[in-house]
């Protein structure tokens, strides 16, 4: 049955076959090397540090410009306002007070990120290497407390699931908590012990002590209120992710899972902390972002962009009225400065 393999292998002789292989290898290797050099040249054009003239001076909306990957800003009003580019290259950005936080993925064999602390002139103050992929960044109003979340790829129950690591950095003391998942947590009045807790999306109150975050454990997500001084956290309510505290500290914008449809699981809500009543915002699309308050009446968030752009920044009134509108075409990580 295995007879006549050579004759049926190919119509070409051994030499011709080798010639074809060599030619193909040269062609394909040439194409590959050419493309890699092109890509390398292209990416070397991207500066990673902020231009000297680009500083944190408001009032303006700062954001990540998706075309260049660098931070840019534009005036608060108007969608067609000219943007000023020249900030640092970041995958996630936030700024407040005298500090800015820039999360930048580091290319390499292992997925790593830099959490880069910047001052008012966007000069680097401190750099922390974090294993994982950047996803959320926040700075407290005073600029003293910083927090970031990364996806720790592969650290999961199945290879397709992801888990997160959230860190908190106190700039005044310089104390860094690499992962807050050891914080004593209370759910429904009982101390919660589980190995599978994941925290993400921290937002700080004005006192630089109280904070809110999402915790996920045993397949559920909770909004938690934490206390840095006591080092404790308690779950406030279920199904509230990526909280964002309003500037007046009375409300929290968050995303709530409303559907099992993996294409559109979340809607944006605002929770009043005094009445604990939640309001559905006018944005009807699924938002996977930690919203940012531009003022006490408006939240901004990124959505997949139109016309081939990676993402656009939209704003919507925080009281459930009005309609969403585009604030920045081709942007993500919005933050109001000044």
């Amino acid at each position: 049955m295995i007879v006549r393999f050579p004759s049926s292998a190919a119509p070409l002789g051994p030499r011709a076959r080798i010639a074809v292989v060599v030619a193909a290898v040269l062609l394909l290797a040439g194409g590959s090397v050419g493309y890699v050099l092109h890509a390398r040249h292209r990416s070397q054009g991207q500066l990673v540090d902020a231009d000297a003239s680009f500083t944190l001076t408001g009032p303006a909306v700062y954001f990540r410009d998706t075309a260049s990957g660098r931070v840019a800003h534009q005036p608060r009003a108007g969608t067609t306002a000219a943007r000023t580019t020249g900030g640092p290259a970041c995958d996630r950005f936030y700024a407040s007070g005298d500090s800015a936080l820039c999360l930048r993925a580091k290319p390499g064999v292992l997925p790593k990120s830099y959490a880069i602390v910047l001052d008012r002139h966007l000069r680097e103050v401190r750099r922390i290497t974090v294993p994982g992929v950047p996803t959320r960044a926040r700075v407290s109003a005073s600029g003293r407390m910083l927090s970031w979340t990364v996806f720790a790829t592969g650290d999961s129950y199945a290879t397709t699931a992801f888990s997160t690591r959230t860190a908190v950095l106190d700039l005044r003391t310089g104390y860094l908590i690499k992962s807050i998942e050891d914080i004593p947590l209370t759910i429904d009045g009982a101390r919660h012990h589980a190995p599978d807790v994941n925290y993400w999306g921290v937002t700080f109150a004005r006192d630089d002590n109280r904070f809110y975050a999402t915790v996920s454990t045993k397949g559920r997500t909770y909004l938690v209120e934490g206390n840095m001084r006591d080092w404790s956290a308690k779950a406030l309510r279920q199904n509230a992710e990526c909280p964002s505290l309003s500037p007046d500290n009375t409300r929290i914008a968050f995303k709530k899972k409303v559907s099992e449809d993996p294409a559109a699981p979340w809607r944006l809500y605002v929770l009043d902390l005094r009445t604990m009543r939640e309001t559905l915002l006018a944005e009807t699309r699924s938002v996977d972002d930690q919203a940012a308050w531009l003022d006490d009446g408006t939240v901004a968030y990124a959505l997949p962009g139109a016309a081939g752009r990676a993402s656009d920044i939209w704003t919507v009134p925080a009281d459930g009225t009005g309609a969403p509108r585009v604030a920045v075409a081709g942007g993500s990580s919005p933050v109001a400065v000044g």
Binding site: R4, F162, A263
Partner: protein
């Protein structure tokens, strides 16, 4: 590559037990080279895809996980179709070639899709379909081009080459990302070029249709599940599924390791490389042993290595990390080396030549589904009882499955009956 023409010598050689000096059939080396090149291409993309989708495109991990799970499930069904198509008219090479080409072209799809989720989903689907289609025809070609008594070694050689590619792929991808400062498109372009080379090597060096007489006495009616009529094959499928249902999955093993050793999360992707390196080194020796001792025992003993993995993970905490890490990775490598190719070598000769790809596809799909079940069960046990009780349960399940496999697997040596079968 000149060895590709030695297939004839194997065919006409007088039957004798495979000696150490005998050459591996050229077709096997050709297929091994194709797999090596293709695995570099596909593992390059696999390694960077989560990063690309979540970081580069801002797709949510939930969406990616959903896509991935969906396509992996679909791939096992496609595998049956590929095996069946290959058997009809002995079109192994053509069907495998279509699978390889489809996967290679899916890289262009990723490149052209840009940020469009639908385009990415289509490209991922094409890749998984290609992978599903080609596996069974390729393994059938290996069995058809090797004499039964050296089949274990042939599979050992093929799997060693395949794993080499799987080791080189991620390294190449991350080197590219590093060199180009995160230009994912460069990874896709290079992966496409490497994949094309794999297809070309297949076209040039792997023999085409076998001149089997279409009306051989044992020729089957061509139904996809024909193989199930053979009691010997049914036993092998049953044993493989039983043992598969007690194999909890690498992801859990690595996760347990990471937890026990408190490894930095960044090292997580390196753990599979350790086991793969061990698999690579042991695949050929394990295949040779299987040829000498019969494939039944190595396959069963290989699962004892898996039992060893579970037991090591249960060992009391303390002591230096490598004391836990090295045995687990080595045992996992031993497990794969003694079970993966060996199972194909065990089943191949039992199947008729014109139903081989379909039969192997059935076996692979059955094993894969059983393993999915085991992973789900272990995940549930972990969540409900915690990792240690879950491990004890896995050990109990594996012992039971081993006893079952011991009873099920046919005992007769891979000799007379088998060679009679394949020349029928």
């Amino acid at each position: 590559m000149y060895l590709a023409t030695t297939g004839r010598r194997d065919a006409s050689a007088p039957p004798r037990t495979g000696g150490a000096g005998r050459r591996v059939p050229g077709t096997v080396l050709a297929l091994g080279t194709v797999s090596l090149v293709t695995d570099i291409s596909s593992e390059m993309v696999t390694a960077v895809l989560p990063l690309y989708l979540v970081l580069g495109l801002g797709l949510s991990p939930l969406q990616f996980g959903f896509l991935d799970g969906l396509f992996n499930g679909a791939a096992s069904v496609v595998r049956l179709v590929g095996g069946h198509a290959a058997d009809r008219g002995q079109r192994h090479k053509r069907v495998a070639g279509i699978g390889y080409a489809l996967s290679a072209c899916s890289r262009l799809g990723l490149l052209l899709a840009g940020g469009a989720t639908a385009g990415i989903a289509a490209a991922l689907a094409a890749d998984r379909v290609g992978k599903g289609i080609r596996t069974a025809p390729r393994d059938a070609l290996i069995t058809l081009s090797s004499r039964p008594e050296v089949l274990g070694r042939s599979f050992g050689v093929h799997r060693a080459m395949d794993t080499t590619g799987a080791l080189l792929g991620p390294l190449a991808a991350f080197a590219l990302l590093w060199a180009t400062a995160d230009a994912y498109d460069a990874v896709f372009v290079v992966s496409f070029c490497v994949g094309l080379l794999g297809v070309l090597l297949l076209v040039l060096y792997v023999p085409g249709p076998h001149p089997t007489p279409p009306t051989s006495p044992t020729s089957r009616s061509g139904k996809a599940f024909d193989a199930l009529r053979d009691p010997g094959f049914r036993r092998i499928l049953g044993a493989a599924a039983l043992l598969g249902a007690a194999t909890v999955g690498d992801a859990f093993v690595y996760l347990l390791l990471q937890r026990r050793l408190d490894l930095p999360v960044g090292w997580f992707p390196l753990l599979p490389l350790g086991a793969a390196a061990c698999y690579l080194l042991l695949a050929v020796p394990a295949g040779r042993i299987a040829d000498r001792a019969g494939r039944r025992l190595p396959f069963l003993y290989g699962h004892l290595a898996l039992l060893g993995v579970y037991a090591t993970l249960l060992a009391p905490a303390g002591g230096p990390g490598p004391l836990l890490l090295v045995p687990v990775l080595v045992l996992l490598g031993v497990f794969y080396a003694t079970t993966d190719g060996v199972l194909m070598a065990l089943a191949g000769p039992v199947l008729p030549a014109d139903g081989r790809a379909g039969g192997l596809a059935l076996l692979q799909t059955g094993q894969a589904l059983a393993r999915m079940l085991a992973a789900a069960g272990f995940g549930a046990a972990w969540t409900a009882w915690g990792p240690r009780p879950a491990l004890w349960a896995a050990i109990a399940a594996l012992l039971a499955a081993l006893a079952g496999g011991w009873a099920l697997l046919p005992r007769n040596p891979p000799g007379a009956r088998i060679s009679e079968r394949r020349t029928a």
